[in-house]
Symmetry: C2
Subunit: 155 residues, 2 copies
């Protein structure tokens, strides 16, 4: 779980974050010029944002279907109540899993995972079901990933 404490950011931080969200390989120097601050200021701001955990990292956005991972699936899982946290920790560490959400309702955990084939998904589900903490699962294969982008517009 991430720390929920809201961090105060000013207009400079916000502009910096917006530009890094758009393109994390941008040069701080050019951005500084555009913003009329010194490169050192942006450098300091960025260090602070990383240090405070607002910025968790920098990454490339990849089209996984082009790399041979065309199958995306959504799994809903009902876990024995005492072991939900432990189970979530376990699945979070699995290589194919991109998201794990704690939800309420008929199921306890929702996860999104990507695979090279339906066979790999099948193997994944079968290995999950061996886990005695799991009571029930529901699998939905995604026909089409219409959008998958971790960025929201910050205001």
């Amino acid at each position: 779980m991430s720390d929920r404490k809201k961090i105060e950011i000013d207009a400079i931080d916000k502009k910096l974050l917006i530009e890094l969200l758009k393109d994390s390989r941008i040069s701080l120097r050019r951005l500084a010029e555009e913003m009329n601050v010194s490169p050192a200021t942006l450098h300091n701001r960025l260090m602070r944002l990383v240090q405070e955990g607002v910025v968790k990292g920098f990454t490339a956005l990849i089209d996984y279907s082009k790399l041979g991972y065309p199958v995306t699936s959504i799994l809903m899982i009902k876990v024995d109540g005492k072991h939900i946290l432990e189970f979530e920790k376990e699945v979070s560490n699995l290589d194919n899993v991109v998201a794990v959400y704690d939800v309420v309702g008929e199921y306890d955990v929702m996860l999104i995972a990507k695979f090279r084939s339906i066979e790999d998904l099948d193997t994944f589900i079968k290995s999950l079901l061996k886990n005695p903490k799991i009571e029930r699962t529901y699998t939905s294969i995604v026909l089409n990933v219409v959008k998958e982008d971790p960025r929201i517009k910050i205001i």
Copy 2:
């Protein structure tokens, strides 16, 4: 929809992608040194990967709860069959939406969205329901984002 055609990548491309997934602000020069290739080679490889759409962009990973977006929710939506594609396109453009999946079953579309408050989520749902293409929705509020990371381990 992304193009599904698998692109062939060799060991150099793969290493480059893995390192960019880990840290997209890495310098190609340093990485080239580590890999015993020239910086120009990595530069060319990266240009090709971007050009072919394997790399869709570079971004910062942000802890949105620290920026004042503590509410994540999952919405399942049943859409009037003729208008699914059109609806998906519409919601993909909304600022709060991070993922839109085409699924089969009781609902047609699953979307994940982030909000500043439950009130904002409520407003969002009410505005969705005004859309005559929508027949039914089911909303699940995420109690805890256990993992949310667009990166999978590529092999």
